[in-house]
């Protein structure tokens, strides 16, 4: 609704001229007059306005005089028109606005001394600005505070009914969890239906509330805004890499706030395509792990079988001595390293340098191996750029978005807001291919609820449909007739009958999806965990590349194939070379020229490429005794991988296990030395988000206990091993990276690579394309018959990896229920109710677990959050290792379920 959508990229807005306070101003026809006024730098008070949503027009503050009109008009809901003569100042307007402020104060509790917003309150500002001095009319509403929600408290005595909270939730986030309600004679904000608020808890409503009516349960009454030190940094949870402000008092994080705020209410609506400034529940409420008492305060060393505290010097010496010893005795390849993609670019770079130069091994890997590396490798192979091709603006302005295997609102909430904007403002058609009824599927124009595990088959169907419906972009295919012929031939072997049988999607729906995608001028494919972390992930991504190629979407502006990541710096981890197959800058380790260049720069010889090992190979070599020492930075393979990987045996056989972490993780309990590391709030550095933006993190507080930043520890170890590094800060490392990878630090700008399929289509393509269009139905049908339930491990909105389970706020919102999520009909059929125990049996074993109904689950599928191991559902998973990329697949299996 409303006036604003002058944001439609299809429509060129007509330029007009109008006069504001005697100055001639140019603007676009039909946009909000208020926006035009504020674009000239004039700030007219506005208490119900925020540029991120359509004007609400309720507060009566934004009054201006328009020539020809007797009475003042509300500029937010008025449209700018050619020739308008507008006056924004004057005593009459001042008095009128003052009246509006007085009205608010007439029913305000004026409990400023105990209000969280004191000193950061638009009502205070406006009262001051308009010289309201007489409060004789103030009356109390005496509404009891609504503290029923887990996260937000509503003090409706303070509410000025500006509606900003409701509008941001409804318009921007499309969650629509709040409403006005007249209760006890007063208009109040309540959760829909006056229930306890239970929503996505992004807290954007809290951010835009201009007074202290909505408060944060985790920080209420703990501060006065002016006591807080505000540090702008990047969130360390998911790959969205949101900017946020960590606000600290002494050594305590008090709250996290977002750039979205009632304070930042002026802006250009079309700019929200780059992000609206909000953050999600994890960013806003998941900060308490930082100063958690469970944080490691001091290094630990194993003495007489027990981990005991030790001074840093002793711990580092011991690590260095033992590594040197093992290297001398068994050679460098007796040592390996794993690192988390939550480390900074500088640390990831340093890690691989430590492994490759100081130790001399290529046995190193990061958590990008759990899936993102599939995307990097496939994109490298197909188009020569190992990263997502699109930024948020592309997504927002796309006309068609094909989302495959992505529970986007849960895994990457802010990227999902871009897709929502695409739906709401730009009227995009969104095709969601998934086997769960996700939130984004509910908003999509074309939800395709495929049978579990058949996303890949559906994509095959799309490719076939594009070819057979003749939706191909002949310009794109004509350049590579041979490649296209092979693809045609491969696809011809597939039958639509078996595709529709395997996916459960009718043929006309497949055709419709194909034509929507093919015919859209700007179309993007976004694939995520349901593709990259499931069997044949690498090949499925290549099929998506095929689809993009034959429809002409490779290289066309605003089009592309894109992904999102679970951990913030998975892209950075690959870019920095924390993978056995890549040197920094994704230079293949086998590339002689690149090897030469880095060898020279580092003044060292590089380890032979063929001896490299990925995560699972490293664990295997630990088990068989080849590897004797393992250095783990922030990773927790024991808690992540299923039992069948026998991680425990691998760790137990080691001569030296060094774990560097914030917490004493399951893995760290087996360590010989544990080194306490700083969180992202205690150090400097950069992350690379999924758009390829290199974003800064800034130190917000002193390190907890004696913990040190990872880069600091790694520098010390490398130097101890004789590889003299003289980094005194992350900036020194940055300088080195800048020299080796010019342009990598892009000052937070999205990276728009130019995908070029030429090399692939003209060379290796024909040889491998057939393999990925093999019919897969028979195998699937067979397992489905024997084990009728699809069991998936996946992410919840409220958590990220295992890290967030250390944040009390997030655990309050989403504790481990220890229950398997199931479809309600299935439960009914099996005679189950919430909490009933079932026996889940897979090829790997069986487990008894309670169940709970979940609206997102389709019949025949069940889900357990991967963040929790109690009960250890993950141990029911078989592990399959991708033959191309070494990615271990263990998020999905078939099972039988019986009531016990």
């Amino acid at each position: 609704m409303g006036l604003k959508p002058a944001t439609n990229p299809e429509v060129e807005a007509k330029p007009i001229e109008l006069t504001i306070d005697g100055r001639s101003v140019s603007a676009s026809d039909g946009v909000s007059l208020y926006d035009v006024i504020s674009s000239t730098g004039k700030i007219v008070p506005a208490m119900c306005y925020h540029y991120t949503f359509d004007p609400f027009g309720s507060c009566g503050m934004c009054l201006v005089m328009v020539e020809g009109k007797k009475a003042p008009v509300r500029s937010c809901t008025a449209k700018a028109a050619a020739g308008m003569i507008v006056r924004t100042e004057g005593d009459d307007l001042f008095q009128a606005r003052k009246k509006a402020v007085e009205k608010h104060l007439s029913v305000h509790p004026l409990d400023c001394p105990v209000c969280d917003a004191d000193g950061h309150c638009e009502l205070q500002d406006m009262a001051f600005q308009h010289q309201v001095t007489n409060l004789a009319n103030a009356k109390q509403k005496l509404i009891p505070e609504d503290t029923r929600s887990l996260v937000l408290d509503f003090n409706m005595n303070r509410c000025i009914a500006c509606g900003e909270c409701i509008n941001v939730c409804k318009d921007v986030l499309m969650i629509d969890a709040l409403q006005f309600m007249k209760k006890g004679g007063f208009n109040q904000v309540v959760a829909k239906g006056d229930q306890p608020l239970s929503c996505e808890f992004c807290g954007d409503c809290l951010a835009v509330c201009p007074v202290g009516a909505i408060t944060n349960k985790f920080s209420k009454y703990l501060y006065k805004p002016w006591q807080l030190k505000k540090t702008t940094t990047t969130c360390n949870y998911c790959g969205d890499g949101c900017q946020m402000h960590v606000e600290t008092k002494d050594r305590e994080v008090v709250r996290v706030t977002s750039p979205l705020s009632w304070k930042n209410k002026w802006g250009d609506r079309s700019e929200t395509a780059k992000g609206h400034g909000g953050i999600c529940v994890r960013g806003r409420f998941g900060f308490e792990y930082i100063d958690s008492t469970a944080r490691l305060q001091q290094p630990l060393m194993r003495r007489d079988g027990k981990l005991v505290e030790a001074p840093w010097l002793e711990a580092v010496h011991s690590v260095v001595d033992r590594l040197a010893d093992i290297k001398a005795k068994h050679g460098p390849d007796a040592i390996a390293g794993l690192i988390t993609a939550r480390c900074t670019n500088e640390e990831l770079y340093l890690f691989q340098k430590l492994m490759r130069v100081a130790i001399g091994t290529n046995q190193l890997d990061s958590s990008a191996r759990y899936g993102h590396i599939n995307f990097v490798r496939a994109a490298q192979q197909a188009v020569g750029v190992g990263r997502a091709m699109n930024d948020w603006e592309d997504l927002t302005k796309a006309k068609a978005i094909l989302l495959v295997g992505s529970n986007l609102t849960e895994t990457n909430p802010l990227t999902s807001v871009r897709v929502k904007d695409a739906i709401r403002i730009y009227k995009a058609q969104v095709i969601v291919v998934d086997s769960a009824q996700t939130n984004i599927a509910r908003l999509a124009s074309h939800p395709m609820m495929v049978k579990p595990g058949s996303e890949g088959v559906f994509v095959q169907g799309l490719v076939k449909s594009v070819i057979e419906q003749d939706l191909i972009d002949t310009e794109a295919t004509a350049k590579y007739p041979k490649a296209f012929a092979v693809l045609q031939e491969a696809v011809a072997k597939l039958s639509f009958e078996s595709i529709t049988a395997a996916t459960g999607i009718a043929l006309d729906q497949i055709h419709e999806a194909a034509s929507i995608f093919a015919e859209a001028p700007r179309a993007i494919i976004l694939c995520a965990e349901g593709v990259v972390r499931r069997p044949a992930g690498y090949e499925k991504i290549l099929s998506l590349m095929d689809l993009a190629w034959i429809t002409g979407k490779l290289g066309r502006p605003g089009c592309g194939v894109t992904t999102v990541t679970e951990e913030i710096n998975e892209q950075g981890a690959v870019d920095m070379g924390a993978a056995p197959e890549f040197l920094p800058g994704q230079a293949p380790i086998t590339d002689a020229a690149a090897r030469d260049r880095f060898a020279k720069a580092w003044g060292a010889e590089l380890p032979a490429p063929e001896k490299g090992a990925t995560l699972t190979e490293i664990l295997k070599r630990c088990r068989n005794g080849q590897i004797k020492a393992l250095y783990i930075v922030g990773e927790n393979p024991l808690a992540t991988l299923p039992k069948s990987m026998d991680v425990q045996a691998a760790l137990k056989g080691l001569d030296l296990l060094v774990c560097q972490d914030l917490f004493l993780t399951e893995t760290a309990r087996f360590a010989h030395v544990v080194l306490p590391a700083c969180s992202y709030a205690e150090k400097e550095g950069t992350f690379t988000n999924l758009e390829g933006k290199v974003l800064r993190i800034r130190q917000a507080m002193d390190p907890v206990g004696e913990s040190l930043p990872d880069w600091h520890i790694m520098t010390a170890i490398a130097s101890g091993l004789g590889c003299q590094l003289d980094y005194e800060s992350p900036h020194d490392i940055q300088r080195e990276i800048m020299k080796l990878l010019p342009g990598y630090y892009n000052l937070g700008q999205p990276r728009k690579p130019a995908p070029d399929p030429n090399k692939y289509l003209s060379n290796g393509y024909s040889a491998e394309v057939k393999a990925r269009y093999q019919p897969q139905m028979e195998a699937m049908a067979a397992t489905q018959a024997a084990k009728p339930f699809a069991l998936a491990l996946g992410q919840l909105l409220y958590h990220s990896g295992k890290l967030s389970t250390q944040a009390p706020g997030l655990i309050t919102i989403a504790p481990n229920t220890g229950r398997l999520h199931m479809n309600a009909k299935d439960m009914e059929r099996l005679g189950l109710t919430d909490g009933t125990k079932v026996r889940v049996t897979t090829a790997q074993g069986k487990l008894d677990v309670g169940v709970q109904a979940d609206l997102a689950m389709l019949p025949g599928s069940c889900f357990f959050p991967e963040h929790f191991n109690e009960p250890p559902v993950k141990d029911l998973m078989a592990v399959e290792i991708d033959r191309h990329t070494g990615v271990p697949y263990f998020k999905f299996t078939s099972a039988t379920i019986q009531k016990v």
Binding site: M1, G2, L3, M47, C48, D54, P55, F56, G57, S58, C59, G60, M61, L63, A71, P72, V73, R74, T77, K79, A96, K99, A100, K103, H104, S106, V107, N137, K139, I160, A161, C162, G163, Q179, F180, M181, K182, F186, N187
Partner: protein, 436 residues
């Protein structure tokens, strides 16, 4: 002027008329529908309605045919018609009678409107308290469905029109057309910012026409007897047709009276409504529902048509005429109306929400004999800061009673305040120690 013949109330005033389908058909009912369906192109109906000069009877008086013309041409996808039967304006009770006594008349009107603008789904949004009305409409719709007037392929033609009754939940604001749409969508009835107007972004964001019951009830007659016939009634060219005026208050014979537009207030009150109920003379008149500014006896000569009433400083509004005799306390009357508006403000706009509460406080103080000299200024200031500064026209409406009583009966306010000053007990005027 030719001898006047009632149009809308004619059927129901026929002795023995029950409002059943049979009765309605006997009086020529559904002939208009039969006449046009599949025979006259829809666009021609809209033209006829435009030519008839019919204007909305819901309050704003917008030309009906012109409103229909705002629907986007060649729109693919659903469009809607909503019959506004929320009639909640104090002093207005004409729609209720049209619904309860002759439901098929308005249903036929709705069918004609649907046909003209290409709507297949129409809703009657009926005031929650009209329980009987809703039952009668449901029954009438059932009859009409059985007879093939409503439903798939009506009267065997290719046109399908469904009509559904939706009951409101008792909020005055849901009579405002965009609040009505919100409520119909299942949300809280808060008015939307206009533009965009319902004609382009209405129910479920689809092109929608909202028309009042009385407006729609006129349509069968216009189709049957022609635009020229209708255009000649009343005071053409701007106020054609009749109006049903709901006369209430201190008159002998309160009730609904259908008269040609342009009839004077004097005639309406003293001839149709039988004059004042006692020997007390007339003191005040609200000519168009609670939202219309007051008139005084000097205005008895004003003709009841859109232009004349507006020129005289009020509005024809919903046709609710409330008559008050000498002795009525005008400040009290204004307070009573203000309390209604305060209660019914939806709360969206600050000026309206807080302003109405502030106005009530101030008015109550004056009426209770605790008024202050500055109060009159406060009242004016508050009113001036509500009107024109709100999302919907409620803001303009709610200040009418106070502003117009202040204009004509300011002395009554002043007297109350003076009395307050004189009779105020000493302890109110100066602080007294030791008292609690």
């Amino acid at each position: 002027m030719p001898p006047f013949e009632k149009i809308l109330l004619k059927n129901m005033e026929t002795p023995g008329y029950t409002g059943s389908l049979a009765d309605y058909e006997r009086g020529g009912g559904y002939q208009a529908l039969r006449k046009v369906l599949g025979k006259i192109p829809p666009a021609e109906i809209t033209e006829t309605v435009k030519k008839s000069g019919l204007r909305g009877r819901g309050g704003a008086g917008f030309p009906t045919g012109v409103k229909w013309g705002f629907l986007p041409k060649d729109y693919q996808g659903p469009k809607y018609l909503c019959c506004n039967a929320d009639e909640s304006e104090p002093g207005t009770f004409k729609d209720r009678q049209l619904i309860e006594r002759d439901p098929h008349q308005m249903i036929e009107g709705m069918l004609l409107a649907c046909y003209a603008i290409g709507v297949e789904t129409a809703y009657i949004y009926i005031r929650g308290e009209f329980v009987l009305g809703a039952q009668i409409l449901e029954r009438a719709l059932a009859e009409a469905r059985m007879a093939g007037y409503v439903g798939q392929n009506i009267l065997g033609a290719r046109t399908s029109i469904n009509i559904w009754v939706h009951r409101g939940a008792g909020a005055y604001i849901c009579g405002e057309e965009t609040a009505l749409l919100e409520s119909l969508e299942g949300k809280r009835g808060l008015p939307r910012v206009k533009p965009p107007f319902p004609a382009t972004h209405g129910l479920y964001n689809k092109p929608t026409v909202v028309n009042n019951v009385e407006t729609l009830a006129n349509l069968p007659h216009i189709i049957n007897r022609g635009a020229e016939w209708f255009a000649a009634i009343g005071s053409p060219p701007k106020s054609s047709g009749t109006r049903i005026f709901c006369v209430s208050g201190h008159v002998k014979r309160p009730g609904n009276f259908e008269v040609p537009m342009g009839t004077t207030l004097r005639e309406l009150i003293f001839e149709h409504a039988g004059g004042m109920r006692s020997d007390k003379p007339l003191k005040a008149i609200i000519p168009g529902g609670a939202s219309a500014p007051f008139f005084t006896p000097e205005h008895l000569g004003v003709k009841l048509d859109f232009e004349s009433v507006a020129q005289a400083g009020s509005m024809l509004g919903s046709g609710g005429v409330t008559v008050m005799e000498e002795g009525t306390n005008m400040v009290w009357a204004a307070l009573r109306l203000m309390e209604f508006f305060y209660h019914e403000s939806c709360g969206k706009c600050t000026p309206c929400r807080e302003g109405s509460s502030w106005l009530v406080q101030t008015m109550r103080r004056i009426v209770d004999g605790r008024g202050r000299n500055s109060d009159l200024e406060t009242l004016v200031e508050l009113c001036q800061n509500i009107a024109g500064r709100t999302v919907c026209a409620f803001g303009d409406a709610e200040v009418a009673p106070i502003m117009s009583t202040l204009k004509y009966w300011r002395h009554e306010y002043e007297e109350l305040i003076q009395q307050a000053a004189m009779s105020a007990p000493a302890e109110l005027m100066m602080p007294v120690m030791g008292k609690h």
